[in-house]
């Protein structure tokens, strides 16, 4: 992998005929130009642009975090951070639900981890028929730019693992940029939040993982001193949530 560079729309990334245009690029007489604001990358003569900003575009199979906006007679309407309305049908809930009392399961204002099951013209269909999905009972939810989600997760979940281990929190990153943090203490959750915001701010740096480890060394001092026993206990325990890709 070569170094990445910041490009703006219309900027010539490489000249000449030796390269192939990849995602968000176009071939013109002058060379391969970028179509979006982001980082240009060149792998095996294929040039592509990694966007860093924009609104969330739902895709099938994405795991996202949504907030219940409305309860209907056969399901829930969720806000998942995009303009299309997302619908969680009663049929997609793997437990018995009293049809007269849907509010018992989830009421307006509740949040849930859901999977996008299908997208059609009318809207988005959701499901919670999978492990790790379902209603969120406690913890905090923060919002980040959806294009920074891959950075927060890291290669094969390396980044999120560091944050989880260092803070002892359970973290689920929704592809729509909503992040659920659940820790034993509010201080842990706040540290995890700070760490995630740090990653999103520095998302363009190469070697970010090392940077984050360093950051934890600087910021975690006060926290580590007091509950040292707790910390070791937590690390030895298996961490429950799987990484959402």
């Amino acid at each position: 992998m070569t170094e990445r560079k910041v490009v703006v729309p219309g900027e010539v990334i490489v000249k000449g005929e030796d390269h192939l245009p990849g995602e968000w690029t176009e071939k013109t007489e002058e060379g391969i130009i970028s179509l979006r604001y982001g980082l240009a990358e060149e792998v095996n003569r294929l040039v592509k642009v990694i966007p860093l900003s924009g609104v969330y575009h739902p895709r099938r199979g994405n795991v996202v975090i949504g907030k219940v906006e409305n309860v209907t007679f056969n399901g829930w309407v969720l806000n998942i951070g995009c303009e299309d309305t997302a619908f969680l049908s009663l049929m997609e809930v793997p437990r018995f639900v009293n049809k007269d009392n849907l509010e018992e399961v989830m009421d307006i204002g509740d949040s849930a981890i859901v999977k996008i099951w299908g997208i059609n013209r009318r809207g988005i269909d959701l499901s919670i028929k999978s492990r790790g999905l379902g209603k969120i009972e406690e913890g905090m939810i923060i919002e980040i730019n959806p294009y920074k989600v891959p950075r927060v997760i890291g290669k094969e979940g390396s980044m999120i693992k560091i944050i989880k281990d260092e803070t002892g929190c359970n973290i689920t990153v929704g592809q729509n940029g909503f992040v659920w943090i659940k820790g034993d203490k509010i201080e842990d959750e706040l540290l995890a939040k700070k760490a995630i915001l740090f990653v999103t701010e520095k998302s363009f740096i190469s070697g970010l993982t090392e940077e984050v480890i360093k950051w934890f060394k600087e910021n975690n001092v006060s926290l580590k001193k007091v509950p040292k026993q707790d910390m070791t206990e937590k690390v030895s325990k298996p961490i429950k949530t799987e990484d959402k890709k």
Binding site: I33, L35, R36, S53
Partner: protein
């Protein structure tokens, strides 16, 4: 030629330019562009679902610009709210920006661009277009190029670049002044040109040539502003 501009600029000299990206955290993309005493701030939202529904285009996304001059932007308080002038400029901005946008991928959606002029000293539509083009890029909208815009004008018989408020509306010597806002892509393709007043063919060509050079300069400033927003 014994022609001198009031603020001591050369005929082919622009006012001082400042550009910044990412000034409004709530928006999907935002930018500020100031040229001399004219300041424009722009917020971009979207692509999001078009409302009202009858304005949706099932083939492609729609660009919707809203140009607004704040009531405190001029020395006499300006009456707030949409006016004939602001609606016209909104439309013109849509036309100036849409040739570079690639909204095919977002059918039924709208990209909202809100342009606010917080200080006006002539050339507000040009400052608005410059800022809007940066904000659109910042919002991650796919586009072929950035758009840069500048006004050229004719004062009496001389072609000058980037007129200010006095030169635009209070200069009455000889033939008076004519103002020609021009927008171009980075490659120098025209997307917008406006002219009210009188100018002959030869001088217009001369003016466009002058604008082309200035647009290249502005394009570099816009590029730099976008890149600086990441390096922080």
């Amino acid at each position: 030629m014994a022609f001198k501009r009031l603020d001591g600029r050369k005929n082919n000299e622009m006012r001082k330019i400042k550009a910044k990206v990412g000034i409004i955290p709530n928006a999907d993309g935002s930018a500020m562009f100031s040229i001399g005493d004219t300041i424009a701030i722009v917020a971009v939202y979207g692509p999001r679902k078009m409302h009202p529904q009858h304005k949706q285009d099932p083939e492609k996304g729609v660009l919707r610009c809203t140009y607004n001059m704040n009531s405190f932007s001029v020395s006499d308080r300006m009456r707030p709210g949409p006016s004939r002038r602001s609606m016209e400029i909104s439309k013109i901005m849509e036309w100036a920006l849409s040739p570079v946008l690639m909204l095919k991928k977002y059918p039924g959606s709208v990209v909202d661009v809100h342009i606010n002029i917080i200080q006006a000293d002539a050339g507000t539509r040009c400052a608005g277009i410059n800022a809007a083009s940066m904000a659109l890029a910042h919002a991650g909208i796919p586009m072929k190029d950035l758009v840069s815009s500048i006004a050229v004008g004719k004062m009496d018989k001389t072609i000058v670049l980037d007129l200010d408020k006095y030169e635009d509306s209070d200069f009455k010597e000889g033939e008076g002044s004519t103002d020609i806002p021009i927008s171009m892509t980075g490659k120098g393709e025209l997307t917008h040109i406006q002219l009210d007043g009188k100018i002959d063919k030869k001088q217009l060509k001369e003016g466009i040539k002058l604008a082309e050079k200035a647009c290249k300069e502005i394009h570099e400033i816009q590029k730099q502003a976008l890149k600086d927003a990441l390096k922080k």
